[in-house]
Amino acid sequence: MSDVEKKIIQIPEITRVEGHAAVEIDIEDGNVKDVRLDVFEGTRFFERIVLGHKYDELAHITSRVCAICSTGHVLAAIFAVERIFSFTPTPIETKLRELMHLGMIIESHATHVCALALPDFLKTPDLASFAGQHKEKFLLWTHLRNLGAEIQTAVGGRPFHPVNLHVSGLSKIPSTASLEGVKADLKRSLDEAILLAELVLSFAPPVERLTEPYFLALIPHDDKYGYFGETIQSSEGWQRSCQEYKEYLDEQVVEYSHAKRSLVKGKPVMVGAMARLALFGKRLTREALNVYQETPLFKGDSNSIWNNAAQAIEIIQAIERAIEIVDEVEALKKEQSAEKKPLEIVAGSATGAVECPRGTLYHYYEIDENGVIRAADMITPSAQNTARIELDIKEVVSQSKEKEMLGPHLETLVRAYDPCNTCATHMVAINWK
């Protein structure tokens, strides 16, 4: 027997996150030896599931990786395939895809911020007390997520697992009436979004962060704030095309978890709302920028807990941008549209990347000349964040005096990353050559 005092802090199941995960921390002699974020969500092997299917089935299958960011998975897959086929959809369709994506951002962020993260700060451990004691906050959530769902339903056919998004565009362009309806609701909700952001900003983080994170995010198209792009920007200053993701992202399997994790040059990275704000916050829409400029985030505080606030700010941005898009789409509808180029199936491979609510999502496919998927790879934001979460936990625990009391705070911390374990556990290693 060694006389070293050994302790293990266990959080057997982190509640209020998507999917199933646990944390285990080994402490020896007051020092943190090891931190394990164990994702025990069952594995679903999506990279295998899609093999042998036709390119047009990808959208339906990949959306099932994760309900909350299904639109993101669908778009990443579509972008990859369209790149292989060198296909460009019509401008209207491109805009509507962005609108759809913003709907997802609103719905996902609202649900995460209000229903999953806020109860920690409001101290409401169950839903009945949240709904009962904080009716107006509960309503804030229902309104905002309804808005996100409404957008996705108008464009994609239902709140998630969209049925209207396909390789080659949309099967039906939403009617003017439905888009105008969406716009009216967007306008109505802007104030609520601002209110939510202010609310989230009013809660001081219960723990502190020590080392500066390493941020990654896609450089958005145009010079707007956005979620679609081709090139990755890092907070260290380098830029790389997402086609080369395998060269900068290093995926690893760990024994104790079903989720893989990625490092960049051996370092944990952080992706998601905070990363996007840190790198492109200056491009935010008006109201969103106003709020952002008043936050500790803007001043450089990179405490991970502020990710909740970053998401709230992105809701404001999404609402403002969505209103613009509706107008742009309606304007485009009036223009004489050129005949759509037919899809041409060719063999090839490519990566599609989008900024999902939780960060950059990569989908890579190889397609043969019949349009059949021959190889696939997906790198999810949660996989990229996992190493950083473990590092965060390690730092927080090391620094703390009363380590045993930390449990709830650690959960709050993990939750702030909004880890999506259903996403993180889809993986199958493919042997590249």
């Binding site: 209020r16 069952g42 295998r48 299917h53 339906h60 451990p125 056919g157 024994e255 290693a429």
Partner: protein, 252 residues
Amino acid sequence: METNPRPCIAVEGLTGCAGELLVILENLDKLLPFVRVASFPFAQSQNDDGPVDIAFVEGSVSQPHDLEKLKRIRAKARWLVAVGNCAVWGCVQGGACAKCKVTEMLEAVYGQHSEIQALESKPLDAYVNVDVKLSGCPIDKTQFLSVTASLLKDHLPYITHKPVCLECKLKENPCVLIEKNLPCLGPVTAAGCGALCPSLGAACYGCWGPSQDPQMDAMATILSEKGYEALEIMNRLKTFGAPAHLFERMNV
């Protein structure tokens, strides 16, 4: 005021996309006046493991941990309701397991001596007795609420197993299988979604799982006459978990 304690529900997830949890979470405001949420780890931190009247279970059984959890839930629930395609049919992961072995996939990912275990993805009724099966991917909110309303009265709910084509025709959609030769699986897929895809001019890809007594052989014949290849047809028909016995009559 209240004489009877409100019925207790549990909402639990096994391996899935969390879609049903999300649908239920998003409709919780409607349920809260009538139920007590004893357990819903996706949405609340304080969860108790006591007996419940209704347990809604999402996801398929894909690892030993899921199975243990399912058995625990079965033991505590009066009504065990499988929600979503994963729980009812096995969804895309079930469809894939029909094609390749889990052990091989596991090895490919985590190496040979990994402690990580996986089971072939299967729907709940492969392991326990399921009282009600509400499919959908994700479940339809109206169906969910009416099923819950029945269960709260201890009534067996009505869940249609007629094909998507019925809803499609009731909506008076032009048939995409006929007019566009799209591989629409509406004829063999259970209704419930309101024929979402064909209403948008797209083919139904079967996300609700099979209808009652689906004519898979006739479906395959018709698709092959439209130029789809046998392998592709089978892939499409099996993607969303249609079990093997439905294909027995087939000579493809």
